[in-house]
């Protein structure tokens, strides 16, 4: 027997969240499989404030209970995020699975979370007491480890509106559908006045959390493409040295080789 609370508004949801020991439940695509014993759920799929996709000056704001199918139908969601969302599982899962759930599950394999990492997305977390905005990499601390208090809910993902136009995205799954990522890669590139302003690279499904090395990225920032080209091999070596990957459904060596191939391809794609 499933026990839980159905919230009709965000206010109600936050009150229940504060008063009871509940597991937030949006689409349930992970939680149904987990089928934890003796827990109470807080059902969020009917909370209107969490179901919206909005745009402000800086961000595309995706509500935590927005499903992947809904995002795919939205003109506001960046193409990079749509590409990742379109590769998640299969239509039935995408109809139910949500952005908040993908985050809340705390897995480095989460396909939408990879994009949030590479895009420097922020999260708006809310509780009865108020709200706070955190960077996704400060929120996502490790396997099943999230900076989320017992009375908090993820309300929105704030995805930068601009700067995600030039990208590489790759998902390596065990098959073409219904596949958990074995390696995923997202790279975002931007240049202004001939100088590189962004060369973000994020790796999913290869360690306890999504990997991104901003200090290594920084070595190429402000450089021209030609200057970056000269630094390319050192840059790749810095990644190779830094990346200590775990084994999972595939070996750590396989993951490493794929990550390095995809990173090199990303640079090549933008002339580096």
């Amino acid at each position: 027997m499933v026990n839980g609370y159905v919230a009709a508004s965000l206010k109600e949801a936050l009150e229940i969240r504060a008063a009871h020991d509940v597991v937030p439940y949006a689409g349930g695509t992970d939680l149904m499989v987990e089928n934890r014993k003796g827990v109470e759920y807080l059902f969020l799929s009917k909370v209107p404030e969490l179901k919206q996709i909005a745009v402000d000056d800086e961000y595309v704001r995706i509500g935590a209970a927005v499903t992947f199918t809904e995002a795919l139908a939205s003109a506001d969601v960046p193409r990079l995020m749509k590409e990742a969302a379109s590769r998640i599982a299969a239509p039935a899962i995408r109809n139910a699975g949500t952005f908040g759930g993908n985050l809340g599950n705390g897995s480095a394999k989460a396909d939408s979370v990879l994009i949030e990492f590479v895009a420097d997305a922020k999260l708006r977390l809310v509780s009865k007491k108020g709200e706070r905005i955190v960077d996704v990499d400060k929120f996502y601390l490790g396997r099943k480890k999230l900076d989320l208090a017992d009375d908090e809910l993820i309300a929105e993902i704030l995805l930068p509106k601009q700067g995600l136009e030039q990208y590489s995205y790759e998902k390596v799954g065990g098959r073409n559908a219904l596949a958990i990522s074995r390696v995923s890669f997202a790279g975002v590139f931007a240049a202004e006045g001939g100088r590189i302003t962004n060369v973000a690279a994020a790796f999913g499904a290869v360690a306890d959390t999504v990997l991104r090395y901003k200090d290594i990225e920084a070595t190429l920032l402000g450089k021209t493409v030609d200057e970056a080209k000269a630094l390319k091999e050192d840059y790749l070596k810095a990644y190779a040295d830094r990346m200590v990957l775990t084994r999972g459904r595939v070996s750590a060596e396989y993951r490493k080789t794929v990550c390095m191939n995809l990173l090199r391809d990303f640079l090549t794609k933008f002339g580096i």
């Binding site: 098959r175 073409n176 596949a179 070996s251 060596e253 396989y254 080789t257 191939n261 391809d265």
Partner: protein
């Protein structure tokens, strides 16, 4: 298309698609005890003691001491215990069953049992196994002379892995004591009479002391050929002790980890070539049987008979052994030993051709068997071998020859392409003289007063369509509408033994019995009367008798044939192989229902592609299978082979109904050979020797060879 081939709506279509079919897990739980298995946690150990928690009233602990008859399950040999003996021989071996009304309580009790083991050294690695359950040798010609006179000798080893049947419905059986002491056992089974024999023995009763019903069965693929005999005995013993109905349904992890899978194999081929032709093969086939022998004898027989492929090999020596290891016993899976050896021989021929600088297809064509040629066991290919025409069909469908030549040229860039082809047979029916000497199939037709006709046979509907195709044959001969002829799930209390639902035999062998029975009934037909006719199996006159001790004679009366081509595109950055197209020409004789046969061909081909590419299952150093769920053991989806083209080539078999031959297993067998050959080509002509060949394997080759 002939009238008999025209598709009809399957008889079980409506109940299945509407979710109304009742599977063994669907019977109400009221009054039924739930059984949960206490599985061994180590690969080999003496079981010193089991500390069972105090059992509430109505809960039971059932083990070997409760077996009223013989604690040995009758399969081919009798070495598989109902519940473990003094030792356990693999991780997962059933030590006991906990039974009771509440599933959660039963689970808790099971988990609270403390087993004390004295661990023994297990044999995990097939290469270090020394105990052979079965060891066979056969051959012909002068192999040593041929090797001595050879221009060149090739020596290679090939390996294949496990494959899990992944049927939708897991293993599940239920036993109900009936008034008068008879035991009723029913569940998800392929072979009701196998279960019947096994349960009789475990309970120590006569043939009328038990009866077995096949419930609606959610797929078998061989996985429910022998295993239900074991589980059937276990629930029957439990029901006998508890004197209540007991049901045991495996969860997916239990099923994937502990029930029978396809035998991993290790094949060594030594081949002598003179003047550009194969003059001899010296073949060593090793199958990993697992801890008990179950079906390994017959799986191995089929495997080694197919070892030289469909090529004329004038001098042949074959040695096959099924080795004991302390792992889950392997068993039947669609193809039954043949996919392993066909993979090896197809790769071997390909490798020799490449070394000789000739095209692999041309090399294979030059060695093809044809009608009248001897088989590997000195039998005869009595009927035309349609392979050359089927090669042309596949070539036309995918431009094989042109692509093969194109992709052989040096390729650059991230994505590289290759195409490969395999050709093979599947021997229809039981191996050797099994149909004549062991099965002796009997089938009946019962006509009721209202003119409806019931088919009485023991072949189970497992998705392959016998509930539809059997009635089609009978209705056709009796000139009756199809709804006047029906075939229910077999209950051994009321149907004769027409043999097991295995070996692609049901339609060809039992279908023909039913056709003859229908003719007999037509000739005797009297309106308004209840009538019954019976037919017995008769071996066709042309057969050269088979001797299993010498592996000599006709191993099969006829063969279903196939040619497969698979085109891949390899992503050299990730190792992922994208299947651009899969093409198959299949000769199963006359299709008795076009849609049913095409469903079999497409589904089987896809299973074969999974076996070739992504379905990897292995055990660790302790003998434990780790990837025991559908998120860790991946089978292909339709998205993985978006372009599949199956074609039927009809070479009729005169002794099958309307020319039909065995169909069920054929489509799975050839995919690994075609797929891996395609990967080899895409990688610039490397030599690959194992299947499945995964993305990880591919990337390792790319790294090593600096491709």
């Amino acid at each position: 298309m002939e009238k008999i081939s025209q598709s009809v709506v399957k008889k079980d279509h409506a109940t299945k698609v509407s979710g109304r079919s009742v599977y063994v897990a669907d019977y109400p739980s009221e009054g039924v005890l739930c059984g949960k298995m206490l599985h061994a946690k180590v690969a080999r150990a003496k079981v010193l003691s089991v500390e069972v928690p105090e059992l509430p009233e109505g809960y039971f602990y059932v083990d070997a001491s409760d077996v009223p008859g013989d604690n040995n399950v009758n399969i081919v040999l009798d070495d598989t215990p109902v519940y473990c003996r003094e030792t356990v021989e693999y991780i997962g071996e059933p030590i006991a069953m906990l039974c009771g009304p509440d599933e959660k309580v039963v689970e808790q009790l099971r988990d609270a049992c403390k087993v004390e083991y004295e661990e023994l050294e297990p044999v995990i690695d097939l290469r270090t196994a020394t105990e052979a359950f079965f060891d066979y040798r056969f051959g012909h010609g002068d192999v040593d002379k041929a090797f001595a006179e050879a221009d060149k000798v090739y020596d290679e080893e090939f390996e294949t892995g496990y494959q899990e049947q992944a049927y939708l419905e897991t293993q599940g059986m239920m036993a109900e004591p009936e008034e008068g002491g008879r035991m009723f056992v029913h569940g998800s089974v392929q072979c009701a009479y196998y279960v019947h024999g096994a349960v009789m023995r475990a309970l120590g009763c006569g043939p009328t002391g038990v009866h077995i019903l096949q419930d609606v069965t959610g797929g078998g693929f061989g996985g429910k050929e022998a295993f239900p005999s074991i589980l059937g005995c276990q629930v029957a013993v439990a029901a006998h002790k508890c004197q209540k109905p007991v049901r045991c349904v495996f969860d997916r992890r239990e099923d994937m980890e502990y029930t029978s899978k396809r035998h991993p194999s290790l094949c060594r081929y030594k081949v002598a070539v003179k003047d550009g032709r194969v003059t001899a093969m010296d073949i060593d086939v090793i199958f990993n049987a697992g801890a008990y022998s179950t079906l390994s004898a017959v799986v191995l027989q089929r495997g080694i008979i197919a070892a030289p492929g469909i090529y004329n090999v004038p001098n042949l020596r074959v040695h096959g052994s099924a080795m004991k290891t302390n792992t889950s016993p392997c068993g039947a899976y669609r193809g039954f030993g043949a996919p392993q050896t066909f993979f090896a021989v197809e790769m071997m021929m390909d490798h020799i051709a490449r070394d000789l600088g000739v095209d692999s297809l041309a090399f294979k064509e030059a060695h093809l068997v044809k009608q009248g040629d001897p088989t590997s066991t000195c039998g005869k290919y009595h009927f035309p071998v349609p392979i050359p025409a089927m090669i042309d069909e596949v070539d036309r469908a995918c431009d094989y020859r042109k692509k093969r030549a194109l992709y052989a040229k040096p390729q650059t860039g991230r994505y590289r392409r290759g195409i490969g082809m395999s050709m093979y047979f599947h021997g229809a029916g039981f191996t050797g003289s099994g149909e004549r000497d062991l099965i002796k199939a009997v089938a009946k037709l019962r006509k009721y007063k209202d003119g409806t006709v019931e088919i009485l046979a023991s072949n189970g509907e497992i998705g392959q369509g016998v509930r539809t195709t059997f009635p089609k044959i009978v209705a056709n001969e009796l000139n009756l509408p199809l709804d006047k002829v029906y075939y229910d799930h077999p209950d051994t209390a009321r149907v004769p033994d027409s043999g097991p639902t295995v070996a692609s035999r049901s339609l060809m062998v039992v279908g023909e019995l039913l056709r003859r029975a229908a003719i007999k009934l037509r000739e005797q037909w009297v309106d308004g009367e209840e009538q019954e006719v019976e037919e017995h199996f008769k071996e066709p006159d042309f057969m050269i008798p088979f001797y299993i001790d010498k592996f000599e004679g006709d191993a099969y009366p006829t063969y279903a044939w196939a040619v497969n081509a698979i085109e891949v595109e390899i992503d050299t950055y990730t190792g992922v192989g994208k299947i651009l197209g899969a093409y198959g020409s299949f000769d199963v004789g006359t299709p008795i229902d076009y849609n049913v046969v095409m469903g079999q061909m497409e589904g089987g081909f896809l299973q074969g592609i999974g076996y070739a590419s992504i379905e990897k299952m292995d055990y660790d150093a302790k003998g434990r299978i780790r990837n025991n769920s559908f998120s860790d053991y991946l089978i292909p989806t339709t998205k993985d082979v978006p372009n599949m083209q199956c074609m039927l080539h009809v070479e009729k078999y005169p002794d099958g109904p309307y020319g039909a031959k065995g169909a069920g297993e054929l489509p799975l067998v050839g995919a690994p050979g075609a797929y891996v050959e395609a990967v080899e080509q895409a990688l610039g002509g490397v030599t690959l020797n194992h299947a499945p060949f995964t993305a990880e394997d591919t990337l390792a080759v790319i790294t090593k060879e600096a491709i």
